[in-house]
Amino acid sequence: MSLALVQEAAAAVDYGAFAAIGAGLAAIGGGIGVGKIGGAAMEAMARQPEMQGKLQGSAIVLIAFIEAVALFGVVVGLMGVLG
């Protein structure tokens, strides 16, 4: 009875959902990275307001690099979901 239930549950498992969880984990990593960059950039801007333009530019580029890693995760997750 219980074995049948487990089997049924296993058959119902959608492995795409795991891919979605993976994408979420990747987003957490990216979020931490972006947060650190943003925080450091803010702090630097507060210290040297005259450097604001330069700091903003390089912060955006750095965030783009970090974000790419998270997006790789999302796209791999999409591949898992969409097969």
Binding site: V75, L78, M79, L82
Partner: protein, 164 residues
């Protein structure tokens, strides 16, 4: 679903469109726009450089003016000093000359006084001599009667008269 499977048709159209867009915009938009922006920036830069040059020239001119003014002032100073010197010299020369003249006049006066004095003395001497002669004559006339007395008188008179 093929969300992440690129379609060949869209790739083709994108490449073609982008190439055409790049070509057309490069020729008809970016070239004139960037050229105009560059020209304008050049002209602004040139104008700024010119203004800077003008400012420098102005500064030079001002410095020149200052220099000339200083020179003029120095010259005036020198001239004044010369004039003052000359005045002093003239004054001192005049003083000296006057001194010399005065000395000379004093000397002359002294000499005159001396000669007058001599003349006067001589005159007095002459007068004294005449007077003495007259007195002597009178006395002699008077005393010729009395020989003794005559002699005594002469004696005493000669004793009294002292030539200076």
């Amino acid at each position: 679903m093929d969300l992440i499977k690129p379609e060949i048709g869209l790739i083709f159209w994108t490449a073609l469109t982008f190439a055409i867009l790049l070509f057309v915009l490069r020729k008809f938009a970016w070239k004139p726009i960037l050229g105009a922006v560059g020209d304008r920036e050049d002209s602004i830069r040139k104008a700024l450089a010119e203004a800077e040059n003008a400012r420098k020239e102005m500064q030079n001119l001002q410095a020149d003016n200052e220099r000339i003014l200083k020179e003029a002032r120095a010259e005036r100073e020198a001239m004044l000093k010369d004039a003052r010197d000359m005045k002093n010299k003239i004054v001192s020369d005049a003083k000296e000359l006057a001194q010399v003249e005065a000395d000379k006049m004093i000397q002359q006066a002294q000499a005159t006084i001396e000669s007058e004095k001599k003349a006067a003395v001589t005159d007095i001497k002459n007068q004294v001599a005449n007077l003495s002669l007259e007195i002597a004559e009178k006395v002699i006339k008077e005393q010729l009667s009395n020989k003794d007395k005559q002699l005594q008188l002469v004696e005493s008179m000669l004793g009294d008269i002292k030539l200076n």
